[in-house]
Amino acid sequence: MSLFFQLVVSGLASGAIYAALAIALVLIFRATSIVNFGQGEMATFSAYCTWQMINWGVPVWLSLLICLAASFIVGIIVFRSFIQPLIGAPIEAMVVVTLGLFVLFQAVTMWIWGADQRAFPSIFPDGGIAIGGVQVRISALGTLLALAIAALSIGLVFRFTRLGLSMRASAYDRTKSMLVGIKVQRMLMLGWGLAAVIGMIAAVLIAPRLLLSPTMMTPILFYGLAAATLGGWDSPFGAVVGGLLVGVAESLGGSYLPMVGAELRIVVPIALTLIILLVKPVGLFGSYKVTKL
């Protein structure tokens, strides 16, 4: 039983990271109907920038703050230069463009920092604490806490501020939003910036565990996509639930299902997502609006 809880907790900690990436994907999808396949690699790039600053001797927290701001700007630049000119283009074109972002950011990271793995400092202290007889790592709790704070602040901004209302409206209906005087392009741009920030949070949370490398986020991207699909592509709340579910399912399935084992643990989230979609084709919290790619 103790193993079970151990697995659940470590699953939740991974799940928090998938959830963060899924939130970023969902934000962009809601705003621009685009699946940003480059989200993970953009996040890796941000994490490398943070690593570089820490390496130069800048305090960790200051590096994080500066790079979060820089990620926001990178997100905006990407939107302005590659996405905005293509709004209204066929959806297939968008798929290739975001795959191009994937290649581009991975290549830029590789070009600047090389392919070697680097140790990334954890922002949480080492060690663990015992909760009801289960040993829980502090970093796992910290990761969950970080996700909770990020998700909650996004939720609050979206629900209770004028800016949040404008962003939600722009994502919902561009023409009507223009009619009420919202600067829709600016809102979409902010959405891309915000997504880049959240993506970076996912990357710096996972970097200490996986070691920093240019391809670090590539496998995580799949889990983020599965989480977003599971939760429903137009629901940030669904992204959180989806991410945690995917994390726990992967952790439990990899250990308890002998025919799956460590190699095939990726099958568990796929199977889970498939089962849920067969029951509810738009995901747990999605609405029926979203079906097209």
Binding site: L86, V95, G100, V103, W111, L225, A226, T273, P281
Partner: protein
């Protein structure tokens, strides 16, 4: 094939170039062209599925790998001649594709894309897990083709001809499907599933057919790929292959046959060229090229060429009725009678 077709002289010209190419190309380039063609066969299948049936599949690379492993396994385990493994690869991969296509009966678009992407990501892991069947990390060898006497001096040429022949078979198959009733049914259900169903289209059957044929082509392409390389391992069939095939399909233009070949050549040669320009910056340039191509033409390379050529020649050949317009629907009903 599309509402506008490329002028015949361009197609004939392309075929002529394909035939005389080997005379001029050095062996290593010829080999690269063959690899590109093997991908193109899989891309062609995806075009049928994505461009015409409107179903997204991000597992085409996994099916491509499946075909490659069928070929290798039959050859290594049963000593079957590589030639005979090809039809087997196509048929068995079609069967596997039907299994992949089952969720497609209920899912579409984004959801289907993610599930199939999951299959693509799991495939190399599965190859490692079932190593008693697949040879695990060390992979499987394939015998080289028996080369007929006249080609003994240059076996690469024979390989090329075999590859071209397989591509030809694939083009023939897709053309037969598209220009017959099936093609119309495919487009109809893509444009409007409800109306198509009301008009008597059996959606389940049509979608499974599309998955089956598309997968058969993936398997054939994979088999050719295995024969060309003489050795395969999980490393050749990572999820990135599926992504590359999708890129090839879209960059070429999803609703054309020609596009599949342009796309196949694109994913093999453009990354090589860009790293020739600058080794360190190769992929940076490749990423920009991908984005650039789509920014210049949202319909892919063939779309761009068509726009240019048809603009110059003012040729608009037979419109294909589309269920998106009322007129199209009427035409379509008339055609079915």
């Amino acid at each position: 094939m599309n509402s506008r077709s490329l002028p015949t002289f361009i197609k004939v010209g392309a075929a002529a170039i394909a035939l005389i190419a080997p005379v001029f190309l050095p062996d290593f380039l010829l080999f690269e062209v063959c690899i590109a063609l093997s991908y193109s066969i899989a891309v062609l299948g995806l075009n049928l599925l994505m461009g015409f049936a409107g179903q997204i599949c991000l597992a085409q690379g996994a099916l491509f790998g499946f075909g490659a492993y069928v070929t290798a396994y039959l050859n290594a385990e049963f000593g079957l001649s590589p030639y005979w493994t090809l039809p087997a690869a196509a048929v068995l991969t079609a069967a596997a594709g039907l299994a992949v296509g089952l969720p497609a009966l209920r899912l579409q678009g984004l959801q289907l894309a993610i599930i199939t992407f999951g299959i693509a990501a799991a495939f190399p892991q599965a190859l490692l897990k079932f190593d008693w069947l697949t040879g695990g990390v060390s992979g499987l060898p394939i015998d080289s083709l028996e080369t007929p006497a006249p080609f003994a001096g240059r076996p690469e040429l024979w390989l090329y001809l075999v590859t071209v022949a397989c591509a030809g078979v694939a083009v023939l198959l897709v053309s037969l499907v598209l220009f017959g009733d099936t093609g119309r049914t495919l487009r109809a259900q893509r444009d409007n599933a409800q109306i198509a169903e009301a008009l008597g289209v059996n959606l389940t059957k049509v979608r499974l057919w599309a998955f089956g044929i598309s997968s058969a082509l993936a398997g054939l392409g994979g088999g050719v790929f295995a024969i060309l390389n003489g050795f395969i391992s999980p490393q050749s069939f990572l999820a990135a292959v599926s992504i590359n095939i999708v890129i090839a399909s879209i960059v070429g233009g999803t609703t054309t046959i020609t596009g599949a070949f342009i796309g196949g050549l694109f994913i093999v040669f453009v990354p090589t060229w860009t790293s020739d320009i600058n080794l360190a910056l190769g992929n940076v340039i490749y990423g920009l090229a991908l984005i650039g191509v789509m920014m210049i033409s949202g319909n892919g390379v063939v779309g761009l060429v068509k726009k240019l050529v048809c603009g110059m020649l003012q040729t608009t050949s037979g419109n294909v009725p589309s269920l998106k317009s009322i007129q199209g629907r009427k035409q379509w009903i008339a055609l079915r009678k």
